[in-house]
């Protein structure tokens, strides 16, 4: 009997130990990989560096966008005049791919630390959708997360190489700032309250990245001369690499083709 009471007491103590709010874990930081935002570091030399432009082309039948079922949350459904569509695969009218993340994966000078911008990249929850669907940030750069909806959201990135994070954001509350300490392409972001919500964050240790838009093109400026691996990553179709060599003030084109 005595043992049972001791066990019950331990269980209660454990329960009380669990009390408290949803503290987010402090992200680990590796000083060598994550210079402080706005601190010292190299910046792209757009005047003398090379520029790579290109487009991401879709090869195949243009997939029909899937309709999202927001009926469980009227506040979300009412925010759209027509039913919202999934942004998993968006093929533009010109046959290019929107929301493809393009970055310089390797080839940059090994001993260069790139300056992390002090300005944040904004990710907005509006109409129970993330805008933009894909963003790029440098490791250590803030993502400024806004809730523009009259409903609760929870911000739940699911990184593989960075600490986990999950925080609620009530309507009308302030912005949430979060940064990722380590490079990771792509970090999925979801909301567990609205399971159709998806965004992706490309976290890169250099400033040479871009996301394709409505015209399917990308531009990366200020690259030092050298030979690089340039990669396009799509949330459904995965990564694709190409090699490219640029000289000072070069302007080169590198297209990618994604097979549907």
């Amino acid at each position: 009997m005595k043992k049972i009471w001791i066990a019950a007491g331990l269980a209660c103590a454990l329960t009380l130990a669990g009390c408290g709010g949803g503290d987010k874990p402090a992200p680990k930081s590796d000083a060598a990989a994550t210079p402080a935002a706005g601190g010292a570091g190299a910046v792209p030399d757009e005047a003398n560096g090379a520029t790579i432009t290109g487009k991401v082309i879709f090869d195949g039948t243009k997939p029909a966008p899937k309709t999202l079922d927001m009926s469980a949350v009227p506040a979300c459904m009412n925010a759209h005049k027509t039913p919202a569509k999934s942004e998993e695969v968006v093929v533009n009218d010109n046959g290019t791919v929107k929301n493809a993340f393009v970055w310089i994966k390797s080839g940059l000078p090994a001993n260069t630390t790139w300056q992390v911008p002090s300005t944040a990249v904004t990710l907005t929850q509006e109409g129970c959708m993330y805008t933009p669907h894909v963003i790029g940030v440098m490791a250590g750069q803030n993502v400024d997360i806004k809730n523009a909806d009259p409903t609760n959201h929870n911000i739940h990135p699911m990184p593989a190489n960075n600490p986990d994070f999950n925080q609620s954001q009530p309507p009308g509350s302030g912005d949430i700032d979060h940064s990722f300490a380590r490079e990771e392409v792509l970090v999925p972001v979801k909301c567990n309250i609205h399971p159709w919500m998806r965004a992706y964050i490309g976290v890169v240790s250099n400033p040479f990245f871009a996301v394709t838009g409505d015209d399917g093109t990308f531009t990366i400026k200020g690259l030092p001369p050298g030979t690089y691996t340039i990669e396009v990553v799509h949330e459904k179709y995965g990564p694709q690499d190409q090699q490219i060599t640029v000289g000072a003030k070069d302007s080169k084109t590198q297209d990618f083709t994604i097979k549907g």
Partner: protein, 259 residues
């Protein structure tokens, strides 16, 4: 019944990808009752049922302590309460640590243990005495628990489906071994056959529901959000799995039971 409803609620929370819709614990979005929208409904219902089950387990433990003469029954009731409380704390830790796979699997596995203990206490109040060897029924309980752990691992993407299918074959074989002996021994006695018939029937239903859950998942794999077909097929599989486990415990407690 409440314990089974709690298992279903947990399955709904997982299948709707809502387990982390409430990032804090033990409060819910800083309140006792959060806004019941979207996935929050599933997670909060799960927490409410968990509190109810804990309360009932506490009442059961104290009542059994006061009224039950059999020492093993008193211990079983307290173990049930302890397991339910540990499960609640584990759920809270899961939320705080943002659902690491190992803890999610542990939470699902401990849920099965909690349900099994609840069934054991209930079965202890209505003992059935079936002559026979208890090894096979006890092995059936063990095999079904291992299958639960494998199923949880699959559900949380820790392992592939092959292990769970292999486990199903082994568990089904052990269940048949345990049940057929009883059925052959008591061919004309429905009362004695009943626990084995129930176990076999539920096992068959579980195999069918597993196939249905797999098919529903495959058919809706490309959907942008969890689809009702997949949700309900998977939750049914989880609930029937709990019932199978409970039925195996009842059979194991009945066979060779001289108490």
């Amino acid at each position: 019944m409440c314990a089974l409803a709690l298992v279903a609620a947990g399955g709904l929370a997982t299948s709707n990808d809502a387990a982390l819709s409430v990032p804090d614990w033990p409060l819910s979005l800083g309140r006792l009752v959060p806004p019941l929208e979207g996935g929050i409904r599933y997670e909060f219902a799960h927490r409410v049922l968990a509190a109810l089950v804990a309360l009932l387990a506490g009442v059961q433990a104290f009542r059994t302590q006061a009224r039950e003469l059999r020492r093993w029954m008193r211990a079983l009731a307290w173990w049930t309460l302890g397991a339910v409380l540990a499960q609640a704390v584990l759920g809270g830790v899961l939320v705080k640590l943002v659902d690491p796979k190992v803890l999610a699997i542990a939470h699902a596995s401990l849920a099965q243990i909690c349900f099994g203990l609840t069934v054991a206490v209930a079965a202890g109040h209505y003992p059935i005495h079936i002559a026979g060897k208890s090894l096979a029924p006890r092995l059936a309980v063990a095999a079904l628990f291992v299958q639960t752990v494998l199923g949880a691992a699959v559900r949380h993407n820790a392992i592939g489906l092959a292990s769970h299918i292999a486990g199903a074959i082994v568990a089904a074989a052990v269940v048949m071994w345990a049940s057929m002996a009883i059925l052959m021994q008591y061919m004309d006695d429905d009362k004695m056959r009943r626990p084995a018939v129930i176990l076999l029937s539920l096992t068959a239903a579980q195999i069918f529901s597993g196939f249905a859950a797999y098919t529903a998942g495959a058919v809706t794999a490309d959907a942008p959000q969890p689809m009702p077909l997949m949700i309900w097929a998977t939750v049914a599989h989880v609930v029937v799995g709990a019932l199978v486990f409970g039925a195996a415990i009842m059979l194991a407690m009945s066979v060779g039971n001289s108490r």
